[in-house]
């Protein structure tokens, strides 16, 4: 056995490998849970993920980690519900080159906003090319539902411009829902995300 400074090299090497593997496994398992998987406190509703207990002292620690990893203070569950989508209803990533139709249900909140963030800009901490439609600026159906189109080229109706390239994230924020409305909102997806065509 080779010795160096009184420590067996093979033992030291095994120890270092075990620590490195352990650190990596700890990091990846934490980020995996914080991205909204089972037992993390997140709720999956169709393509959308929500963290209904966010901000509470007794919320899942993964909920806090999720928001802070994204550079965001956790929203108060009392004031706001946030739904986030990075893929469409078929499970494919949201891509700039595609056209999407988004059909919302009636949203029982005081007001809401649907915001599109280019993924690359979020990752780099930039803020500029954010597109948003709110309940005050959207064209609504009689029952309060709304239909949106996401594409690069302008379309009539509630149009959100897709970024020139890459993937994007959608965030649906509902402000001031009543407790009853919260229950309702967390029982079904707030909107369907249907891909139409891709170029």
């Amino acid at each position: 056995m080779a010795w160096r400074g009184g420590i067996p090299v093979s033992g030291l090497l095994k120890f270092l490998i075990a620590v490195a593997v352990g650190l990596a496994a700890g990091y990846f398992s934490a980020t995996y849970m914080a991205s909204g998987h089972a037992f993390s406190g997140a709720v999956r509703l169709g393509a959308w993920t929500a963290w209904p207990q966010s901000g509470r002292e007794d919320a899942s620690p993964y909920s806090r980690l999720h928001f802070l990893m994204r550079g965001q203070l956790p929203p108060s569950h009392f004031n706001r519900l946030e739904f986030e989508a990075v893929e469409d209803d078929a499970g494919d990533p949201l891509r700039a080159g595609c056209t999407y139709r988004i059909a919302s249900t009636t949203l029982p909140a005081r007001w809401w906003a649907l915001t599109l963030y280019p993924e690359e800009e979020v990752r780099r901490g930039r803020f500029g090319n954010v597109r948003e439609i709110s309940s005050r600026t959207a064209i609504l159906a009689r029952d309060g539902s709304a239909a949106f189109i996401i594409s690069r080229r302008p379309r009539p109706g509630n149009w959100l411009q897709a970024p020139p390239e890459g993937r994007f994230i959608l965030v649906f924020r509902l402000f001031g829902p009543t407790p009853l409305a919260r229950e309702k909102l967390l029982s079904r997806p707030p909107a369907r995300i249907i891909r139409e065509v891709c170029r």
Partner: protein, 193 residues
């Protein structure tokens, strides 16, 4: 058999420790850095700070486009911090975060029928019942006891009508956030008397 499981066991133990440390301490560190950065931003005026454009990234990397944020970094120490917020006529919400990122207290325009709101922040005190102190309304001011030495109050409003922006900015600009001197000790209660 046991010797074969030794190193995987060590790796598993390190993984569990790293997982717990990451989940519990990273948000705390992140929040501390955020409070430092916001504190530095507010220091020149020493008061209520409106976050515009890129400054809003200190609160969130994905800010709603038309959301306007005002913040007050709260460090009451032995004394109190008073925040007086001028409120817009439209929707607003006030959320107070602890230094670990938890929401301590929140309210919105449905709860306050006034054009301004004064909140006093101070450290939580022991109560005779042993139960934690809860926020109370005292002489028209909301008193919020804190369990952490630092906290962050975030006032948010949504301005998607361009004409309203200037008016709401003016209202936000006249909001204040200041440390109040410690209350004078009552005669006969100090150790020296």
């Amino acid at each position: 058999m046991m010797s074969r499981l030794f190193w995987p066991g060590i790796a598993l133990l390190v993984a569990v420790i790293a997982h717990i440390a990451y989940v519990l301490y990273l948000p705390r560190m992140d929040m501390r850095e955020r409070l430092e950065a916001l504190g530095r931003l507010a220091r020149p005026s020493g008061s209520f700070q409106i976050l515009e454009g890129r400054q809003a990234l200190l609160l969130t990397r994905t800010p709603p486009r038309y959301m306007l944020h005002g913040v007050c970094v709260i460090e009451p120490g032995e004394g109190q911090v008073e925040m007086m917020a001028r409120l817009p006529g439209s929707y607003w919400s006030l959320t107070v975060y602890s230094d670990s990122g938890d929401v301590i207290y929140t309210l919105n325009d449905r709860h306050v029928d006034a054009d301004s709101l004064t909140v006093i922040f101070r450290m939580r005190k022991e109560t005779p019942s042993g139960l934690p102190e809860v926020p109370r309304l005292r002489e028209g001011k909301l008193v919020v006891p804190l369990a952490s030495k630092r906290a962050l109050a975030v006032l948010r409003t949504y301005v998607d009508v361009p004409g309203l922006r200037r008016r709401i900015l003016r209202a936000f600009s006249s909001s204040t956030c200041r440390a109040l001197p410690s209350p004078a000790p009552v005669a006969g209660t100090t150790s020296g008397s």
